[in-house]
Chain length 348, copies 4
């Protein structure tokens, strides 16, 4: 590849999403990893934080300013509220900014402030930011320089349910999203409920009908339906490292068949490299996507109750975070959308 | 204890439910474990099949006839279809029969034949059998000699939802039951999807809207509601050994508050030794009931969508099988209902 | 049971060993749990810290003074260094003291200070304390009022190797102890290496040839051999909640056969309620002892290299901590040694 | 890449090692996956056996003859005894053969027959086969056309111990190898001891001092030492999917220091792309190599007992099987030895 590589920087490189991003970008054919930012591990290399990186990445972590200066595109994997300054700095300097955090996902700054409890300090940037779900917003993403990379739960739910809502084959009321997430979704920082003996051999719901991803999910689904959609969203913590499975329930419009729905999904996703609509008889399983950028989707219709049941699985840290961020970067720079994302799920 | 102990026998003692039952009965103050039945392990002791039992149970497994002859009460933990002959034999000989399998759970023999694909050969026994969910059918159980011990999923769902339906505070239509089960529910026999490397770090739904527990669940819920109830039931396999968590969604009748519902549940379960209605702010977790006969229940109301959300957890092999069977035995023999069931959940 | 129950108190009740002890003592036929001590959770009940205890233990945690005042026997499950004051107070008040921590395990105060880096402030108490491994020191334990309850690794290794050393059938030089522990051994406090995503699907050695249990192990083995024994001890962290498996390697004296060794072990342990010498052909497995006070031991001889291989498994929190402490209490009070310890390992 | 790709075929493609090999070769820059062989799944694609492969590999499994006909290099991942015919056929047809199974690892056919209980039917092929451990036998591998790919345990032990033996800094007698393997090492076929509820939360040794990898390990170590070496080898099954950690114990020759040993290892492995000698203070962990072709090695000296302790970790299915096979293929065809093996371990 003769043409110059894109210099990329990562803020929050030592968190789980950041580390996964480092792992993907180190092998991206068109990218040169230029700088890594970390507050907690400034002065250290990835190998000192994650032994698996030993000998594979000599970059020493530095502060945000240094990272932005060295990069054409900056990824931010930071706690909410902390991306805004960097985003402003990047735009100012004509750089592209991809926020893996939550600061630029919600179109309505008021919603952001209500759910996240922090101020949306740059309304203009919010205006400008595009929600980075390529399968639905590819064109808009290609034109922006600030991407709000979707949350893990919203990615699994929006990809699973959008075609049904766009087609008008299901009711917009009474939608239930029952999601199960691997523990990596809780981040790298230890806590009591992620302490191995507490978390292992355990399973529970959390933030029932109160999770911050709710407005983000409803924003996307409302757009797909063309009218306001309210969902009941219940996340659960499952004792695996990676993966999200969302089981989605919607009421079928009278007379709608599974065949009609399969036709709609097949048409919507026929050219999508990372979405696999499963054949009848197989189940969407976390194992089949873990370690990859794929989203596997299965459809069922319960004619006894007139319910559409959708199962949608992703790797929460790849299609649900770092992988999708790279997919967005590929779009921003006019690269092959799957560049650097050819990971094959582990067979076991 | 002067008074003579009850002699108990177990058919299918070497399966998971059978083994759990042996473990409970060996320590039951009013029971003498008299005989164990096994086809695959006839001539062997439990310790040869499960090393943990080494030195703790000298009984040698024999055939069904021998077990019935030695026992006042016979527990059957057999694949469906295989309990009927033994039940008939027991009734004939004036013994009590508790079927942990599915042969005597459904009141309507036709439903049984439709869902299980085997013949209900003794309509009279079906007539006579009582569904063994003590918290709802204690009086009837006390009067019978054949108990159809509930399935694991139905136990978690019926206990979680019945009070809401009995009170009429929720709609009977549109109920969703999203259940997650530990792998012991699949039994002791190895299979590809329970092979450790396939099952570990994996999560998936199975038998979506087609699981055999569906009619059993609907039978109980319809009784509670006083009118036919149809549910959408989706079971999932989670990579833990024990436990079931059911997340149940029902539509609130207009104006119903969480306080009203809590009042109804508190009243319904105030004297129940094995049901713990959790205080607001805590989550029902598999860990908190694993190894015990408890069912923990939590209630949430999503006022944004008018939805009641119930989480109900049990140990699938104890309250969902062997423990509940012993609870039923205690009722049949007029013992303290919690006799032999004082297991405290492991803290970790 | 007419006779008055023994009032027992626990310092450090909310740690893992303390919680396991609460669980055992709540069901002990001759004990009344009188008081619980906790610094971090003073004013709270066990159920607020461990949901599994909800409704099962109304005792509110208080400070050490209050616990000691209410108890005839005090168990301490505290970080090293913190038991000494309470021990002194108990002895002064004529109460019995069982230290689950490390303060009273080493006979030589200098060794204690070298390995634990804290001062042995009460030499007289050290003198008086007995090492609480009942299978080897039952008589001495019966006569004392301060017990130093053995560590988890030392229990598995001493029980596995002592008979071979006592019999003189193996060399005292070149002994290797390769131990694997479940994560509960690291305690309840979260840390990076016990964070679920880091610990799960991982396995590593730690504190190689530098673990604090080394002098304790050598003290017991030297006593058994009648001459100083030095071992190489390497602990590993395995991704399970409970259990320790120690694989022990010793050089066979010339001409020694497996039969001779089996004879020695059988004789040594023939009357031991909690030790199971496995028959040839079976393997000592964590599963077979988890949740119980048993120690399973298997012997192998590698005639190609003249090596005795011993595998010894225990539940690190029961026979390795709380269960053994109760076994010691039973001895101190002249009760049946197995009182309250009739837990049967879970079959799965 | 203009030059023609190497056409590769896999016999036993649907087993775990075969599937991992498919996954690696599908992304190998110089290889075209030409054919897959499977007896159990003839007529099916990988995606039908492993859902993760859906849409990624259209090749339909066929019989051995077809695979060999289409390939320049044939990998065999078959049960022992079944590779010999295919190897003979390949050599006859001037193709290269890499046996991931055990048929060509032992130089002495008699040893092979003794430990594996099947006949070495082609002594000439045995003569010709080279043991495929590149770090020790690179030159010989480059010259052959039949490679006996090392077993998983032998790879971790030989790489960990060879330099110490070659340098003469340790005794050749009294070596102990205590290895722990992930469950994928047991293969894809379900069995009782790999059934999730039995295997999960369990840990045990197996085939103690009787595992078939013993002669293979001793063959390599004897070569390194220049004199016959006998070891005590005890494998254990740990409840993780991937990885082997071997803890190796050897007696230090008098006066040998850790610095000397580190110097020897650093010199031996300085140019090895896949071996990482860890700096003092860090631990070799399964997590840090899982999913990659790396072998991480750490050294400790226990001066109290004069013992060298080595921990060596690999991914049992990559450096221990499929990855090493590809490394050997790269050598056979004069490619960059790391071609197609640039996998970075997952950070979590």
């Amino acid at each position: 590849m003769m043409k110059k590589k894109i210099s990329a920087g990562i803020l929050g490189a030592t968190g789980y999403a950041g580390a996964e991003l480092v792992r993907i970008l180190l092998r991206h054919p068109a990218v040169e990893l230029a700088a890594l930012g970390s507050v907690s591990f400034a002065g250290q290399t990835m190998g000192e934080v994650y032994p698996g990186f030993r000998g594979l990445c000599p970059i020493v972590c530095e502060d945000a300013g240094g990272v932005i200066a060295k990069s054409e595109v900056v990824f931010a994997a930071l706690p909410h509220g902390l991306s805004q300054e960097s985003a402003a700095l990047c735009v100012e300097q004509g750089k592209k900014f991809i926020d893996i955090g939550a600061d630029f996902r919600l179109e309505d700054p008021a919603e952001y402030e209500r759910w996240y409890g922090c101020e949306a300090r740059y309304p203009a940037l919010h205006e400008r930011a595009v929600y980075g779900l390529p399968e639905l917003f590819r064109q808009q993403i290609a034109k922006t320089d600030i991407v709000g990379n979707p949350g893990c739960y919203p990615t699994s739910i929006a990809l699973g349910l959008a075609p049904a809502l766009m087609s008008g084959l299901v009711e917009t009321a009474g939608i239930i999203c029952d999601s199960k997430s691997g523990v990596s979704g809780a981040g790298r920082k230890p806590s009591q409920n992620t302490h191995f003996p507490d978390c292992n051999e355990n399973f529970a719901a959390y933030k029932v009908a109160a999770h911050r991803h709710t407005p983000e999910i409803e924003q996307t689904l409302s757009g797909a339906a063309g009218s306001p959609v309210r969902i009941t969203f219940v996340p659960h913590l499952m004792p695996v490292n990676r993966g999200i499975l969302s089981t989605i329930y919607a009421r079928l419009r009278p007379g709608v068949t599974q065949e009609q729905l399969r036709g709609v999904y097949a048409a919507q996703y026929q050219n999508e490299r990372f979405i696999r609509l499963l054949p009848p008889g197989s189940e969407a399983a976390v194992r089949a996507v873990a370690g990859s950028n794929y989203c596997d989707i299965q459809l069922y219709t319960d004619q006894r109750t007139g319910t559409l049941i959708i199962t949608s699985v992703i790797d929460n840290m790849i299609k649900g975070a770092a992988g999708q961020a790279v997919q967005n970067m590929n779009i921003l720079f006019g690269l092959e959308e799957s560049a650097g994302l050819d990971m094959i799920p582990m067979p076991f």
